[in-house]
Amino acid sequence: MPDDQSFDLAGCLDRVRKRDQIAARELVEHLHPLVIRIARSHLPRRVAEEDLAQDIFLKMFTRIDQYKGEVPFTHWVSRIAVTTCIDHLRAQKRRPELRWADLSERETDVLDSAITNENDVAPDDALAARELVQKLLERLKPEDRMVVQYLDLDQKSIAEISALTGWNQTLVKVRAFRARRKLQRLYRELTESERT
């Protein structure tokens, strides 16, 4: 989360509203870590993270006059980022079910380790595990994918997800329950599919 204490956000926003380009640049640089983290977590296939971040910032500037200060500015920007990511994810066609044949050699090893529980997944294989989970998440609806990502990978609380997405806490819980069930079904289908 950007450090709001050392950055005069209110002053910067005033200058941006007066169309000060230097202030706009400062605001982009200040918010970039927050925006790029969201963009990377929910990046659709074949979309560059920089393009997605740019899209989020352009939406933020278009709507900046609508920001009334009811929620912290970073939450407001997060919600724009989340909805932009969901729009991009909706635009891409969801992939059908995942099979052993779709996995790389390392992903296959990781999956074997997870199934047999004989060996802990080696730290070096964490990236392969992450990629495998992302492949599974790509099969979910964008909102479901987002809630699993935040809850199970980023380990955010329900309240944090609610603040980031603008969804109320009950909705987050319902989505999480359904999304986890779908993920388990996809995982079961993957592990029971034929090895080729």
Partner: protein, 100 residues
């Protein structure tokens, strides 16, 4: 929790251990490009030439309406004169109607 759920949980735990992707600061030139595009996209009013053209067109319409109002009598009387002239003898019927 059944075996498959446990296994998925282990996979998730492994995925969480993956290092976060590197640098989060804006790449060189990114903020300049975005700021320029943001203000270019959010042009609040039309350019000055378009604004002036619209005003001139409005004034021209006003002049046209005033001109018609001022000259209304002259215009209607001109139409009356034409219809009176049209109501006179028709030279063609005179030629065709040889019996009369």
């Amino acid at each position: 929790m059944n075996e498959k759920e446990q296994s998925l949980k282990r996979l998730m735990e492994a995925a969480r251990r993956a290092p976060a992707p590197g640098d989060e600061s804006a790449p060189f030139g990114f903020s300049t490009r975005v700021a320029a595009r943001a203000f270019e996209a959010a042009q609040p009013s039309p350019p000055s030439f378009a604004r002036v053209s619209l005003r001139v067109a409005g004034i021209a319409c006003l002049f046209a309406v005033v001109a018609v109002g001022v000259n209304y009598k002259a215009i209607t009387s001109a139409f009356d004169d034409e219809s009176a002239a049209a109501g006179g003898d028709d030279p063609v019927s005179d030629v065709v109607n040889l019996d009369s």
